[in-house]
Symmetry: C2
DNA sequence: AAACAACATACTGTTTTAGTAGGTTATGTC
DNA sequence: GACATAACCTACTAAAACAGTATGTTGTTT
């Protein structure tokens, strides 16, 4: 039945991990979003601007590329571009892409998940997990760039003045 | 000035970490919330129900206690209770409590955070970080227990029938 | 041909996670 | 008072994840 399938799916679902790894990935993608009109951005540039190790960035971008979040151009002048418009890329996608490591530890493997209140809290957790995921799915790179948070607008506007005045990297 | 203070505060702020550790803590707190009327709940009970190592639970509850999220009763028949009503305890508090380890790595220590577009993406990240935190601050244990998610209501109702029929543990 | 930059793989030190082990202290019950 | 219970505390450990280093190769532009 649909209910059981549903239950199993969410029992096996893994946690939405949120660490510095995800921060690096989102930060790098934000860097891309901000410099998108300027053609491909090299990882060397991002590495320098965001102070993230180049090789580490390469590892992260391998995953981002596998998940069709960025496209690459090789050779001199090459680099990475967003694969889609920044309003079509969610924060959730980025974090998921970079944390791919399917280990469904919750309650799979043990058949005792399906009976009664043993697993009730698991369901509740899965609810939360899904809410978090849905929340982050609703936040696009674009919405981040275009100040959602009123409190820091003042700070950011002065910053954006320099940043947006036509491809500062050239 | 206020703006600079503001900037520094959020530059130094750490990421909201979300791992299995947090899942365990939230799960355990949910277990408490569900059995709250039954008096103190021993960690041994939670350990058995949620399949979490007893000693690990003890470590987590040490943090939860330090942060006034639970209160304890020693001796036989003792255990832990929620320190407040379940609608006054947010998921964010629980996760924060259990992940306490102040390491402000973002851009503190390096003075270069304050100039221009170098740190623009950091601001954007901090925005996101704060949004996540605010989101999880808005979700209480109580709201989790009382089905926010319509899709799983059907599943949970049958479960809650057993669970809520007066302190199953006695 | 040379330089550039993506792409790939293997290795390393550190931190976090999750759990184990072995206690001490407080408090009910017999 | 003896005893069981369960909180409380500290130190240790194996495994995983994190973050970074090193060393390439492949493709592309100049």
């Amino acid at each position: 039945m649909a209910a059981l399938e549903f239950l199993i799916r969410y029992c096996e679902k893994n946690i939405m991990r949120l660490t510095t790894r995800g921060r690096y990935a989102v930060t790098a993608m934000l860097d891309l979003a901000l410099n998108n009109e300027c053609g491909p951005i090299s990882l060397a540039d991002i590495s320098q601007r965001q102070e993230i190790s180049l090789s580490y960035l390469e590892q992260l971008f391998a995953k981002l590329r596998q998940n069709n979040l960025v496209s690459s151009v090789r050779g001199p002048g090459g680099g990475y571009c967003l694969a889609r418009a920044s309003d079509a890329i969610s924060v959730a996608e980025i974090i998921d892409a970079v944390n791919e490591s399917i280990d469904a530890t919750s309650c799979s493997g043990k058949g005792n998940c399906h009976n009664g209140d043993i697993c009730l809290t698991h369901h509740l957790w899965d609810d939360l997990s899904r809410q978090i995921h849905r929340f982050l799915s609703g936040i696009s790179l674009d919405s981040l760039v275009h100040q959602q948070d009123v409190q820091v607008v003042m700070l950011r506007q002065s910053d954006q003045a320099d940043a947006n005045s036509g491809c500062a990297k050239v």
